[in-house]
């Protein structure tokens, strides 16, 4: 990473030292349109450091749009317009002079459908590292191994790291590979957009356990359709409906004493 950019983006505070629970991302009055159609109609919420925040809501309510707006992936879609602010450690990610490439480097993302590159397992994980730094063979090996261990995939792939294509793994392994790939560049925030929706219960359980462990070092945002999953893994929950934030709070409160009637209807399954 370019030193000047690094200095601009990394604040004095070393993030690992900030107390968990303090907001790291502040979404302020975020509005997004696809063409003329609004998808987010003014969303404001704060995402706490080293906690898991779940985003729930019916299909089409704007969950994916919200997470993609946080790491500026939305603008890759033609015809998207964004207004409002996303503050990351106090800096507006949509401000002038902010490079979306740097944003995505610090705020990683895992997609609904596993999308490993058609390269070896090793090259998948090394991909981001090779883009941004010149690392020696040894260090690259170490970082790849560390990321694969973090993603609980190491033991399953260590014997043919170079021989096996990412596409030759099972769906659950592919998704963990995508998580490893994202972790390898050491982002501060990891966005997961329905990471388990294509997976069986065992793979899902593995990924949930994995997220629990990642919480010590990373801020996680997970979009999910699965209420049990949101309740099981998350510390905070945001409920979106039709592009608006209906409720946001500690998961336990949202699930046991929702303040809004619509939240209650949704989590109890009385909602369309």
């Amino acid at each position: 990473m370019d030193a000047a950019v690094e200095a601009r983006l990394r604040p004095e505070v070393v993030h690992r030292g900030v107390a968990p629970g303090i907001p790291v991302l502040g979404v302020e009055d975020l509005r997004v349109w696809y063409g003329a159609q609004p998808a987010l109609r003014g969303v404001t919420l704060e995402i706490p450091e080293r906690r898991i925040t779940a985003v729930i809501g019916p299909s089409g309510c704007g969950k994916s749009t919200l997470v993609r707006a946080i790491n500026r992936m939305n603008e890759l879609i033609p015809g998207v317009r964004t207004e409002g602010r996303v503050l990351f450690r106090g800096q507006d990610l949509y401000g002038p002079g902010v490079d979306p490439v740097e944003v995505r480097l610090r705020i990683g993302m895992v997609f609904q459908k596993p999308n490993p590159f058609p390269k070896s397992v090793y090259e998948n994980v090394a991909f981001g590292l090779r883009l941004h730094r010149r690392l020696g063979r040894r260090e690259l090996d170490e970082r790849v191994e560390r990321a694969l261990r973090q993603a609980a995939l190491w033991d399953e792939v260590k014997d043919d790291l170079h021989r096996k294509s990412g596409l030759e793994l099972s769906g659950g392994q592919q998704q963990r590979l995508c998580i490893a790939r994202a972790l390898a560049v050491e982002p501060e925030v990891l966005l997961l957009d329905e990471p388990c929706s294509a997976l069986d219960p065992i793979s899902t359980a593995r990924i949930e356990a994995l997220m629990e462990g990642l919480k010590r070092d990373y801020t996680l945002v997970i979009v999910t359709h699965n209420m049990q999953q949101a309740a099981r893994v998350s510390d905070f929950t945001a409920f979106l409906l039709d592009g608006e934030l209906v409720e946001f709070g500690p998961t336990e409160e949202v699930f046991t004493r929702p303040r809004d009637r619509r939240t209650e209807d949704y989590i109890t399954g009385r909602f369309g």
Binding site: L105, M109, K113, N115, F117, P118, K119, S165, C178, A182
Partner: protein, 327 residues
């Protein structure tokens, strides 16, 4: 129901028959080529047969020109593949085919040197950078290049490119007919083959993969170079091989602009003759069936066929080794 079944069975037979027909035609062509090629290498034997020689003037000429070959077909085979003088149409007959091979390799290499880099750049631009409106116009415009009759390219090379290069770059070092102009213009002709096919395969690379790379902080260029091109590599290689086959088989441009004198050289400024140009040269003259000249046609034709065939097979192998499969 019975009628439907029967109609289906007939249809199936018709389909099988047409598939069979194309196989039969291919086999027939190869067989004819092989047969006539054998006739070429049998020349020394025919020239040793007094009954044949007495009635065939061309065999007599062959005997007179090359007494050393009479009765020694293996010697002809050796000469064909290893010697560097090709003059079957002259009284001093030499049958070393390497000058024609050199001419073909030289012009095709120049053509690929133009078409592959430019075509790939165009494909990357069109697939990854150009707005839809630009792509919608540029792509058909590029494809028009492939539709221009090759005779027009040939004259363009001969009457425009060569004089231009003589006046501004090489001076009199550049022959009036030369490998360079022919190769350059042929490169422009096959450029759309490379760009259009490569662009198609690059656009077929799933968007998911691109998003995956963007999410890791890749720039547009990095996505293009490190994800899209590698994932599309097999298609790109196929496009290049196709372009190479077109260049090797191209006739009009090289016949007009590269020349008709076999030349064992690697210098692109000189006049050369390609295998195809030689075939045109002989076919244009009146060549009696079965004559020495006639037989050389098939020998070099077979060489051309075998060369492109081996190239295609090899490229398939190479591509299978290096390609990234994403489906």
């Amino acid at each position: 129901m019975g009628r439907g079944r029967r109609a289906e069975r007939w249809l199936e037979r018709a389909l099988a028959a047409s598939a069979l027909l194309s196989v039969v035609v291919t086999v027939a062509i190869v067989a004819a080529l092989a047969f006539e090629t054998v006739q070429f290498f049998r020349l020394p034997l025919d020239a040793a047969n007094p009954r044949l020689v007495s009635v065939r003037a061309d065999l007599q000429r062959f005997r007179e020109a090359r007494p050393d070959l009479v009765g020694r077909p293996r010697e002809l085979v050796r000469e064909f593949f290893t010697e560097t003088t090709w003059s079957p149409l002259y009284s001093n007959k030499r049958f070393g085919v390497l000058p024609l091979v050199a001419g073909t390799v030289l012009t095709s290499t120049i053509a690929l040197g133009v078409a592959v880099p430019l075509g790939l750049l165009a494909a990357v631009y069109l697939s990854e950078f150009a707005p839809d409106s630009v792509r919608a116009r540029v792509k058909p415009a590029l494809e028009v290049l492939a539709g221009i009759p090759t005779i027009v390219y040939g004259y363009f090379a001969l009457t425009f490119v060569t004089p231009f290069l003589q006046d501004h770059v090489f001076g009199s070092a550049l022959a009036g007919q030369n490998a360079l102009s022919a190769g350059l213009v042929m490169g422009i002709m096959i450029l759309p083959l490379v760009s259009s096919l490569s662009e198609d395969v690059m656009r077929a690379v799933p968007l998911d993969l691109r998003y995956g790379a963007y999410a890791l902080g890749a720039t547009r260029m990095e996505v293009a170079v490190r994800v899209v091109v590698p994932a599309a590599l097999s298609g790109i290689a196929a496009a290049c091989v196709l372009a190479l086959s077109r260049a090797v088989g191209e006739t009009m441009i090289v016949a007009l602009a590269a020349g008709q004198s076999p030349n064992w050289t690697a210098n692109p400024l000189e006049t050369v003759e390609t295998i195809t140009a030689f075939i045109v040269q002989v076919s244009l003259g009146d060549t009696p069936y079965g004559s020495v000249e006639y037989r050389t046609l098939f020998a070099v034709g077979m060489l051309l066929f075998a060369g492109t065939f081996v190239m295609n097979v090899l490229s398939v192998r190479v591509v299978q080794r290096f390609r990234e499969r994403y489906l």
